[in-house]
């Protein structure tokens, strides 16, 4: 009833192969974009920006990146935090080395550098598979964090060992630094999110995405029918690291402003993004957004209810949060191993025939 394709006729191949074949989906998509671009910038304030919107947008990009690698190409990675650190430090070095160039280009270049590093650490994936690979990507995580901690060139020999973003503007509006407006940073990140999602969606439904999925489903069979594992796996590592690098650059430059590598890009980040991908749904673009939203909102919700609402001490809330997050993850895996995206898919199926399912 609510959600049906009856009467929605396609008259061209282009119309038939579009991303949202159902009219309601298309309308919902455009409505969401309109709200995101035209409504939220006018009502957003600093609390909502820093507690919800910026982390959501940035983690959504990171989750997209990891989902391409793990969900589409089947290579489990626990090095997300390390790759985000590469993006952040690349962005920092570029920002300080070329202050006259627009920050947008710096962020994209940081993504490209991370893609290169990702390919380098992706090389073992040609020999190592499954859990061995997952643990091998931990090598990237620990090595990269150590590198940025110990080699002073990366943090420009600053005494504290931290990196902090200098003020940069886009079209005259400050984006990084101390004096930024909520709407400006929000829109800056939103543009990156929309562009990433658009690229990711079109890559994954094209021939590149199909080679990735072939590798994921069975790499030997894929190799026999002519998919090059070298090209497929390394391109997945490159594209995935590109997005994760952009997320890391935005996380450092726009969201936090100043970063200490161990605490900001530790192994916890890797797990957090992996949880987003799993809870949202492996191999789903929508799932990356749902997962990011869920994992960002949950701690905010718990803090608000338990600490501010019931007045419990912070340490207790922090421990309870661990328990709840852990239990939710297990519960999710038992109830729906394919994540929120699969839940949404079932809901859609039900909505089509609702309220007369027979």
């Amino acid at each position: 009833m609510i959600y049906r394709e009856a009467g929605d006729f396609k008259t061209s191949y282009v119309a038939d192969s579009q991303t949202f074949p159902i009219r309601m989906d298309r309308r919902a998509y455009w409505a969401a974009l309109a709200v995101a671009f035209l409504v939220i910038p006018f009502v957003i304030n600093d609390y909502w920006l820093n507690a919800v919107f910026l982390p959501f947008l940035i983690y959504a990009i990171a989750a997209l990146g990891l989902n391409i690698l793990t969900g589409y190409c089947g290579q489990v990675s626990l090095g997300t935090g390390g790759f985000m650190a590469v993006g952040a430090y690349a962005c920092y070095k570029l920002m300080t080395a070329f202050p006259d160039i627009n920050i947008t280009l710096h962020v994209i270049a940081a993504g490209a550098i991370t893609a290169g590093v990702g390919v380098l650490f992706g090389l073992p994936s040609l020999r190592i598979k499954g859990f061995y690979l997952a643990v091998a990507t931990l090598a990237a995580q620990f090595f990269l964090v150590w590198l940025f901690n110990r080699v002073p060139w990366f943090y420009n020999y600053s005494a504290s060992g931290q990196i902090s973003a200098p003020e940069r503007t886009v079209l005259g509006v400050p984006i990084t630094g101390a004096a930024t407006d909520a709407w400006a940073t929000y829109l800056f990140c939103l543009v990156f999110v929309v562009a990433s999602a658009w690229i990711a969606r079109n890559l994954t439904r094209g021939s590149v995405g199909r080679t990735w999925m072939a590798i994921r489903d069975m790499d030997i069979a894929a190799e026999i029918i002519g998919v090059s594992p070298l090209r497929a796996k390394l391109s997945a590592f490159a594209v995935s690291s590109f997005f994760i690098g952009i997320a890391g650059a935005l996380f450092f430059a726009v969201y936090l402003g100043a970063v200490e590598v161990g605490s900001a890009f530790g192994i916890d980040k890797s797990f957090l993004v992996l949880f987003m991908v799993i809870i949202g749904g492996l191999g789903s673009i929508l799932g990356s957004f749902l997962g990011a939203g869920f994992m960002v909102l949950l701690p905010v919700f718990l803090t608000n209810v338990l600490r501010d609402g019931l007045g419990w001490p912070t340490t207790l809330v922090a421990h309870l949060e661990l328990v709840i997050v852990g239990a939710l993850i297990i519960g999710f895996l038992i109830a729906e191993p394919h994540g929120l995206a699969a839940l949404w898919r079932t809901t859609k199926e039900k909505l089509r025939s609702w309220p007369f399912p027979y």
Binding site: P124, R127, Y132, A139, H319, V325, A327, I329, I330
Partner: protein, 328 residues
């Protein structure tokens, strides 16, 4: 003998001792992975939880005291008694068995036949859950654990080596005790799996689930058994690490150290876990000793991983793992 060489020998001996402890954690991983195909990320947190429980029982703490005081406004702190170490260890072992039953009943029974990655994610969730529960139950302060193990420098070795080389080796008694305990534990495990009915059933399940089922072995029982043994191994590892560096959150991070040990030795091999642990324990200390000062130190954070990575590129199944045969 030149001083540098003597230092190196001392460092590598201490590395071997640390390696024994890595191997202990890795052993828990291997047991569960062999029997159920679950890559149990929670092994390190299990060690932390076991150590916390042990300290809590020994000090006569009331579980969940902080939570109860907050929710019900009560003012409970402790039972006010001290439990002797041995009794507390037995009680903790019982808690770990209970934990194994609960894990099996409420988590993995519902996840039978899922893909390995889903099971792995579930154990990460379990790690978070258990860490939170441990903190809620017993509080999150750093605790000292003393079950009466010898501590401090071993004077005999110091004196003997001083007489022989003119330089006394510093070796902690605790490390020696840990090595002895680890050796006993491994021997006990080998005897158990070779000479008892349950051990045979366990090996059968590790070999082939379906064949084991068809000859009447209860998978449910075996999995509970395996998780209990892993819990017991975690308890031993927790006692050793806890006595060495206090019972605190960083204890759960030894799980991350045990992962490269596993990769190096192969996920399915118990000797592999031990040899891998020794290689990594010694390798990382020696690397830190010789190369660390040149590159800024703290190489222990990543050396084990990079070493394992390099070995894996040449031997994808690890040093002792079963050969991986893939078919379409």
């Amino acid at each position: 003998m030149p001083d540098q060489l003597l230092y190196a020998i001392e460092v590598s001996l201490n590395g071997l001792m640390a390696g024994v402890l890595y191997a202990l954690v890795a052993l828990g991983f291997v047991l569960i992975f062999k029997a159920s195909g679950i890559f149990n990320f929670a092994q390190g947190v299990m060690a932390l939880f076991a150590a916390l429980t042990l300290v809590g029982i020994m000090d006569g703490q009331v579980p969940f005291a902080h939570l109860m005081n907050t929710v019900f406004g009560t003012d409970i702190h402790g039972f006010g008694w001290q439990v002797p170490a041995l009794a507390a260890i037995v009680l903790t072992a019982l808690v770990m068995v209970l934990f194994a039953i609960l894990v099996q009943r409420f988590i993995f029974r519902h996840l039978v036949n899922q893909e390995p990655i889903i099971l792995f994610m579930a154990t990460i969730g379990l790690a978070y859950f258990l860490e939170g529960v441990g903190d809620l139950m017993w509080g999150s302060e750093i605790r000292t654990l003393d079950v009466g193990l010898p501590q401090g420098i071993n004077e005999t070795i110091d004196r003997v080596t001083f007489d022989a080389f003119g330089y006394g080796f510093f070796i902690d008694n605790l490390d020696i005790a840990a090595t002895v305990v680890a050796a006993l534990l491994v021997t006990a495990l080998v005897v158990f799996s070779q000479y008892t009915k349950q051990g045979r059933a366990l090996r059968a399940v590790a070999d082939d689930h379906q064949a084991a089922l068809s000859v009447g072995i209860s998978l449910n029982y075996i999995w509970i058994l395996v998780w209990s043994i892993a819990g017991f191994v975690a308890l031993v590892a927790g006692i050793m690490w806890g006595a060495k560096s206090g019972v605190q959150f960083s204890l759960s991070l030894i799980a991350l150290k045990a992962l490269p040990v596993l990769m190096l030795g192969g996920f399915t091999s118990i000797p592999g876990a031990i040899v891998g642990g020794l290689i990594i324990g010694m390798g990382e200390k020696l690397f830190e000793f010789f190369v660390g000062p040149l590159v800024g130190g703290a190489t222990e954070n990543w050396f084990a991983y990079v070493l394992a990575l390099i070995v894996l590129v040449f031997r994808p199944q690890g040093l002792f793992g079963e050969r991986i045969i893939e078919r379409v």
